[in-house]
Symmetry: C2
Subunit: 337 residues, 2 copies
């Protein structure tokens, strides 16, 4: 079933060097699009939210095509096919892909994929999607932990961080997560099997690191940047690997603030390294298979933070930068028919 | 010939988070020491100065034993044996090693070494000593340049930086040096064969980098830190390697300032890595042999900045942090007899 109108959120401003605000987006209603040959009309069921989306709006993430003011806001999600001019999909099929922030995308059938059987469709947006793959390659290929290593991960209760920690446990590491608030920290230790957790909102991170990692950090996987990155750099062990995955705290500042303790990489003979998931695309199938096995075996658990209502898309993205999300941030737009 | 008294400079204060000052050192005169079995009495000819010496005073360089207020200031140099109770050396021999800031060290014969024939003794303090070895291992083992790479080195007219750039040329790189002042920059391009030079005192470094490295920096060897490191991080190419060797600009600030552009390692899939020369000790002989060949073949030229007079030791160390030295900083204390 499809409506007569299609609701959309467009990019209205570039949130460069500042926090996101609702006025960075413009709401509009347009007539429903007509599918051409090989296109499908989709009904968006769930949208997925990642910090990288702010970078796309800022045009600082030069590994994706630039955005323009007035463009439909980009975002991935799960949708149901409501009309098909493609042999690849029929009405009622569930697909995932880059949909954009609109209720009824009309897209080429080549740009979306079916979802695997036996897992909830939204898993392909999180643990079996880019966040899980980011955790997998960033930790195993860049961080290269060895059994027995002390792994510390920031943003540990987030979609990527929680998977990083759990893969760390599979790899035989001791794992400490840094997250905001007692509830998230408790979840890390009691549900996910982390060996320790540090509450950056209430603990002195530098002091707690000395307590929970007395021999220093062997691998630090950073989703956050800012003071947390700096404190962890100040506590690295010899030959440590620091994986820069995200820097969500960057967005709080007018200017990104570099880590004053960077010079500790000399004293500790250590490495700070960045990566982009797209570079590992050739190895996605193998990684996806492993992640699916670990999920099936209960070795990787995930949590979804599901908000509701298309009108709330901007607010839902802002939750990520306010540290409000607890698990993979999703927005439910419509029920599957 | 030896005097009756021995002049010394002691550590009087720790220059933590600030520039060095003369009051960080205390001058004293003491009676000449008497050698015990296996010891030698030396006459210091030349002292060698390195930025790391300030770190030793601060006790932040934890790869060397801590210093105490009142200790003899540490420093390496060239000396002549004036009295020997060791079979290893006889009166008149020239040696190099950790002497300390005093005119007549009395040391175990095991702590100093003879100097090689055919090169000036002071070469073992610079291009054939720790600065040359630091350049060699930091560039070739950490930076890992490939022929055709764009190598940028900061502190390029200094003892380490000038050797880094010349080894870069041997390795087939395009080399750009960053140094302070026209005289140093001219020397890099006209004498050392650098392909370009940036004068950080008079040029806009970020703008000049775009001109001289239009395709970005493949290897950045940093002796400086601060704004220069930040500008170079902002201009790295894909898969760049940033070698952190020194951070002399750190000492200008009350607090070390981290590079705001660190997050570019993500967009450029790059690495920031630190190292300590001592970790490569097993490979010193081979590296020393190669460096000596390159010096003999005229492929590596070096420049010495020779100040004079034992009383000027503190001022001479301060020159390094004021960017005054042009080449390897030495202090001539006495003539060889």
């Amino acid at each position: 079933m499809k409506n007569d109108i299609n609701r959309q959120w467009l990019i209205a401003d570039r949130p460069v060097g500042r926090m996101l605000q609702e006025s960075d987006f413009k709401y509009q209603e347009v007539p429903l699009g007509e599918p051409k040959e090989n296109e499908v009309v989709l009904k968006t069921l769930t949208l997925s939210f990642d910090p990288a989306q702010k970078g796309w709006m800022e045009n600082i993430s030069d590994y994706v095509a630039p955005t323009q003011i007035g463009d439909l806001m980009r975002g991935s999600g799960i949708a149901q096919v409501v009309e098909s001019k493609s042999a690849k999909f029929k009405e009622g099929d569930i697909v995932s892909g880059q949909l954009g922030w609109e209720e009824f995308p009309v897209v080429s059938a080549d740009t979306v994929n079916g979802v695997p059987d036996g897992v909830p469709p939204t898993a392909t947006l999180g643990v079996l999607g880019t966040t899980g793959l980011t955790a997998y390659f960033g930790l195993l290929h860049v961080g290269r932990p060895k059994a027995g290593d002390m792994l510390v991960v920031s943003g540990a209760a987030g979609a990527t961080g929680s998977v990083v920690g759990q893969i760390g446990k599979i790899a035989g590491c001791k794992v400490v997560g840094i997250a905001g608030g007692k509830e998230k920290c408790d979840w890390l230790t009691s549900e996910l099997g982390f060996d320790g957790a540090i509450d950056y909102k209430n603990d002195n991170v530098a002091e707690r690191l000395k307590e929970v990692c007395p021999d220093g950090i062997n691998v630090f996987y950073d989703n956050v940047g800012g003071p947390v990155l700096n404190d962890c750099l100040g506590h690295i062990a010899m030959k440590a690997r620091v994986v820069i995955c995200g820097g969500i705290s960057r967005h709080e500042f007018g200017e990104t603030k570099g880590p004053n303790n960077y010079f500790n990489v000399v004293f500790r003979r250590s490495t700070i390294e960045g990566f982009i998931l797209l570079d590992y695309m050739a190895q996605f199938p193998q990684a996806g298979q492993r992640l699916a096995e670990w999920v099936r075996d209960g070795k990787i658990k995930s949590k979804e933070d599901v908000q509701e209502g298309f009108e709330n898309a901007p607010k839902t993205l802002m939750r990520l930068f306010e540290g409000k999300n607890f698990g993979k941030q999703l927005l439910k737009i419509a029920d599957q028919s």
